[in-house]
Amino acid sequence: MALTNKSTTKKRQSRSKSFVTDEMVRSPWFWVGLVILGLVYFFFLRDSDKEKKKATIDATPTCITSIKEIAEWEFLTLQLEEFVDTTVNKKLSSAQSVKIYTGTARLGIDTKKANKNWIVCEGTKATITLPAIELLDKSIIDDTQTRTFYESGTISATVKEKMLQSAKKKMKATALKKENIAIAEENAKTEFKNIFTALGYKTVQISFKK
């Protein structure tokens, strides 16, 4: 009996040293708190993705605004990226935006701009005068691929438009470099030479309209 008394007193001593005391265990609030903690765990902590988003993207019809018959021959493609950093200073605050634009510059010829007699064939000789190499697209940026690297504050639509135009200007300058035009001209010459050789012409002379 004395032994059992000793063991209970030891247990009591050890409990009094720990966080959970006998008084706490006896209190109904302790058990209420425990149940609340359990519920919180089940509701919020059990699933790491507790907040789920159900997104709906409406499939509105794609309206064709215009159709154009073209005859553009692309001879060089440049995949470009441009980095544009803009800071807008206002009276009380400032906003900054850093965007990376993606675009594709297509260099080639528009055969609709060729002279009437741009191809002259005599016997086994073909003389071709191709229109000058140019950028085939007015707008070369695919804005759906634009990435925002950094943004703070509110950037207006006008500023976004200016940033896009700045990127476009830089891309055009890169694309229309002399060496790129020279490569496109060389590719054009090779292509037309191959076609006319296959058609039976032995001598093919190619030049560009100035």
Partner: protein, 219 residues
Amino acid sequence: MKRVLFITCIILSVFLLGCSKSNQKSPMEIALPMINNCSKLHTAQYNVHKILTYEDMTAIEGSIFFEKISIPIPGERKLVVPIDATIKAYVDFSLITKENINVDNNGEKVTITLPNPQIVLSSAKIDYKNEKQYLSWNRSKFSNEEKENFIKQGRASILASMANSDIIDRSRVNAFKALQPILVSAGFSPENITVTFSDEIEKNKHSEGIIKQLSIIED
């Protein structure tokens, strides 16, 4: 000692929870211009306009006693983005070999077999001035990342919708119209010029095969 251990456990668990939710983003790199030599005859251009609409309904999801529950958060969060895009159809001449250009022995008739036209989204422009967000007081603004992902889906949807349009057929007709004056200048009369596409040949091969099979059955 136990207290110290308890506090350490709490700090560790907070750190672990924090780590589990963070997403490591790949570094953004600006690529150098990629130059590709090519020979593509663009024959049709479609300018399209699309209004992308996005709505998200957030719900708190969890499970209680192994039963999944979902409590929707009230409030609206909508986004509208108008996009103008240019889609072009082209014939890839780099796939053409000498075998695809046949001139008869007399040098009077020419047959050119072209690969099937393909489409490309050559440029796209977001109408920032007419971009709108509709948000309830309890809902957060759209982040740039969210918008960009949503716009990318819109881009894919534009290209998918073009596959159902007549752009490919129009491109074929226009390819013939573009090549005819070149071939006429090369000395061929218009009635002696034939332009075919590789998938038409495939279709004919298929029907020829059926005819052969039918004749075998009849025999």
